[in-house]
Symmetry: C2
């Protein structure tokens, strides 16, 4: 057993903004109760208090007017799946000010104990789908913007695949808008990618965005599989985090790239969830095969330490589940991709978007990015 996790509990760490240690201890006990039994002390029978109540392990000063509280939640309370896991770890307390979830240790690092089966495909599965051998990073480019027609997006995808891009994904803002409704876009882009692969001898993969309401999201996933797509893009914070587990159990299952839009993950917030916890630990455990996150130095400028930690958590050995592909994006400049390739290493998908599309010679720019990434790890472009 590793330190920081116990066999029959999920261990959560919070920061609590409190005026003093007594208030912090009281708030920690209130959180442990709120997130599990949600009845005043004395209402539930002692056997239930023992089996289901969250248990405060420690409350210690954390500087800056905050306290760190460690709480163990019994696995029995939350092992139904990702939605109930989040409901216990960060449920009603999202409605309080000054409470932030900053770490989670799944039981003895075995997510399966908490009802989480992890990625269906993981890094190995995505490499197989894209025929990208171990030891080299992959390049993903988003087709956009909304407003382009399905044919225009398809032509863009075709050029990118011919230039050696591994994964072509929909922008997460592309859903079912008039100029490129989902079904038409799926058909046209899939055909274009297949055509490009046939002509250029490449193995590019199209990853359509399926995010919508629950039935519609799953219907789009099935449509995507029928159209030959090996992967799909979904935003767990919009479609519901449980979508990750359900997609992983589909037959056949596409690989799932998770998009962070709407995630409660401002990097320095007093509330919300620390990005490495939600994106790095929980989404992987819930079933994401690849997770997109805003890269340091990009439009969102997340701290490098946070990005590195997400990257580490997605890949670290964890009993019973596959590693997931980290996908730094959000303003990775085409000219800086070699720098980031060296920094992150080969088990990474680099998401390059707007900066590439801004080049006047898209094909040459895409080829340059692909070459730079391959050169960084394999010594040959």
């Amino acid at each position: 057993m590793r330190s920081g996790s116990v066999a029959d509990a999920v261990r959560a760490t919070y920061t609590l903004a409190c005026p003093g240690p007594d208030e912090a201890s009281g708030l920690a006990r209130a959180v442990a109760r709120e997130e599990t039994l949600e009845v005043p002390e004395g209402v539930a029978p002692p056997t239930i208090e023992q089996r289901f109540l969250g248990r405060v392990v420690s409350v210690t000063p954390a500087g800056d007017g905050r306290y760190a509280a460690i709480i163990d939640y019994p696995v029995e309370a939350l092992r139904e799946g990702p939605a109930q896991l989040l409901n216990v770890l960060y449920g009603n307390i999202s409605l309080l000010g000054g409470v932030r979830l900053i770490d989670v240790a799944l039981p003895a690092d075995r997510p399966v104990v908490a009802g989480l089966s992890g990625p269906r495909h993981g890094i190995g599965g995505i490499r197989a789908a894209a025929q990208a051998r171990e030891g080299r990073a992959l390049v993903c480019v988003a087709i956009k913007p909304m407003g382009l027609t399905a044919d225009e997006l398809a032509r863009l995808a075709e050029r990118l695949v011919r230039s050696g891009v591994d994964l072509v994904k929909d922008d997460h803002g592309l859903t079912d808008q008039g100029p490129a409704p989902f079904a038409l876009r799926l058909g046209r882009v899939s055909e274009a990618v297949a055509r490009a692969n046939a002509h250029a001898g490449t193995s590019g993969v199209y990853v359509p965005n399926i995010t919508a309401g629950p039935a519609e999201t799953l219907a789009r996933a099935r449509e995507a599989v029928r159209a030959g797509c090996r992967g799909v893009l979904v935003a767990p914070s919009l479609a519901g985090v449980g979508v990750l587990g359900e997609l992983a159990r589909m037959e056949p299952a596409p690989f799932v790239m998770a998009h962070p839009t709407h995630a409660p993950c401002a990097p320095e917030g007093r509330e919300g969830i620390a990005p490495e916890v939600l994106l790095g630990t929980l989404w992987r455990a819930a079933g994401a095969d690849a997770v997109i996150f805003p890269n340091a130095g990009g439009r969102f400028d997340w701290p490098w330490a946070c990005c590195r930690e997400i990257h580490r958590r997605l890949r670290r050995p964890t009993e019973g589940i596959h590693p997931a592909f980290p996908v730094p994006g959000g303003g990775i400049d085409a000219g800086r991709v070699a720098f980031w390739a060296a920094r992150y290493g080969p088990d990474t998908i680099f998401l390059v978007g707007g900066s590439l599309l801004a080049h006047t010679d898209l094909d040459a720019a895409a080829r340059a990015v692909v070459a730079a990434v391959r050169l960084a790890h394999t010594g040959t472009a």
Copy 2:
């Protein structure tokens, strides 16, 4: 047309934490672009910039180191449904620090223009289901805690309905745990409520919690309807906000009570969404028939102005959609319910939970709450 909303746009207001007005203007433009086209200026053709790009209307100082930015988003970018609406209003910008969504005006106050059809049943439909005539408020009690068996929960429900409680809902922490798995709980509690109604001549309604992954959530909704339930409880921030619209379109459709667990709504946060906007405006427009929110003075102690505004937004006349029932809860003390009944008025469902369950004579306490609420508005208990 009302002020603050325009015919073909959804108008959003944000607060931006910025050192000065120039930074705030730059950030506002970045937000408008990030949430729509997500490509640098000059990449998209001018026709697309015109049709799809968010447009900054104004940026003004808002005190406390913040600026208020008003942005109009073209309806065409987001009218697919609730998930895409949130994706545009508060998508990737949830990953930035210091950006908070504080208001939304749907096009000319007609949510249908933005692809939102509102509640299927609304206040009138829930009154009909519970046979609660206009002019009186309703009482809802949550059965809990997790750890009780299905039979124990059923006995609790039976007593509450016999005492005149209108709605008996699952605690949002009850999902599929071993002591009371969903299907067993649904059967036992439904039978118990039917028995109580037959014996006592009441019209109590059981509202089971269906929150899970997407397919499972919808399957539980169908099971609930088959078991005779007139309503269901779901947490949109866990199950995905689009679940509201899909449940409203089911045939037959249960009424939907929305639970705020995990909603990004800390009342005074620098990030997230102002509670009255998400819970009051957007969830109603998306399809919630009733919306639970933490009451002022309870465990969460939201400001009264915020609670009153949620209550107002859920009920205010809005073209094309039904009003939704406000459900203040989260520590409404049984002894104070008359006070709150006077304050909120009759178009309210009072959610009384833990404080009632803490009474040694549950039946008498429940009857007293029911009597106090009826007396407040009708003059007779």
